[in-house]
């Protein structure tokens, strides 16, 4: 008995596809900002999993999955702020956001 056709599996498949899209973006793009966009998509796919498991899980009134998703949203916001600040700082030092050209650690 496979899981296909249940609503939980549909949401999980959408989240898996979104995660793969974000991973492909993070791994293939040259621009550092686009890599951060890919990471944001992956985080959002994980959030969708949390909410889907909360909705179709055994005890939704315990709010565990919902709380995990809310805290995950807050942490993702902090990650985006620091990540984009780093990109701006790197651009100021090297005049580029092309990750193929940023190949030295000295500032």
């Amino acid at each position: 008995m496979t899981n296909l056709g249940s609503p939980l599996a549909a949401y999980l498949l959408v989240a898996a596809l979104l995660f793969a899209i974000g991973l492909a973006g993070a791994l293939t793009r040259r621009n550092a900002i686009l890599v951060l966009i890919g990471i944001e998509l992956m985080l959002n796919a994980a959030n969708l999993n949390f909410i889907a498991f909360w909705r179709y899980g055994p005890r939704p009134e315990a709010l565990t999955g919902m709380m995990f998703a809310i805290f995950s949203i807050a942490v993702a916001a902090a990650e985006a702020a620091v990540g984009l600040g780093l990109v701006i700082s790197i651009h100021r030092h090297t005049q580029t956001t092309d990750l193929d050209q940023i190949n030295r650690m000295k500032g």
Partner: protein, 166 residues
């Protein structure tokens, strides 16, 4: 599954694909906003109203604006001459396809133990607020500290260093 789910899922995935594939970085940021909005609609579809509106506020309201600011500050909208994808794009694509294959196989092949259709969870924002200041008060405080530290850290990292500039 309802028609609305398929429409919203298609919108979200199309937004995500466009955010990853488009050449112009500003267009990518706009497509990312579409994907965030689709995800918020999926949260609403899952009866998670609070998470859906938090998604709209945090992602569409703050993260998308931050991305646009970063693009404008770094002149990232200029399309580079030698393509937008890195030299090792094929490896990244294969890794992403492999990850999706494993995840999809795990979802499809797993045995169904959870009930097919559960009743709509009777959870209000009131309950979420009570849980946040009750059982989850320590994580809430830690997140507040983390957000403060991240804000200060982002400002310090991105701050112009006049005395050490070339």
């Amino acid at each position: 599954m309802s028609v609305a789910f398929y429409l919203i899922a298609a919108l979200t995935l199309a937004g995500g694909l466009a955010a990853v594939l488009l050449k112009n970085t500003v267009h990518c940021a706009l497509a990312l906003t579409v994907a965030f909005a689709g995800l918020a609609l999926l949260f609403l579809q899952l009866d998670a109203q609070f998470a859906g509106f938090a998604q709209i506020l945090v992602y569409i309201g703050a993260v998308a604006i931050l991305v646009v600011f970063a693009i404008l500050l770094t002149r990232g909208s200029d399309t580079p001459k030698d393509g937008v994808f890195s030299q090792s794009w094929l490896v990244g694509l294969v890794i992403a396809a492999g990850v999706f294959a494993v995840l999809g196989w795990a979802v499809i092949e797993s045995v169904r133990v959870l009930p097919q259709e559960t009743a709509t969870p009777a959870v209000t924002v009131h309950d979420i607020g009570n849980a946040l200041v009750g059982r989850y008060v320590l994580p809430l405080e830690i997140v507040a500290l983390l957000l403060t530290a991240a804000t200060i850290g982002a400002v310090i990292v991105a701050m112009h260093e006049k005395e050490r500039s070339r």
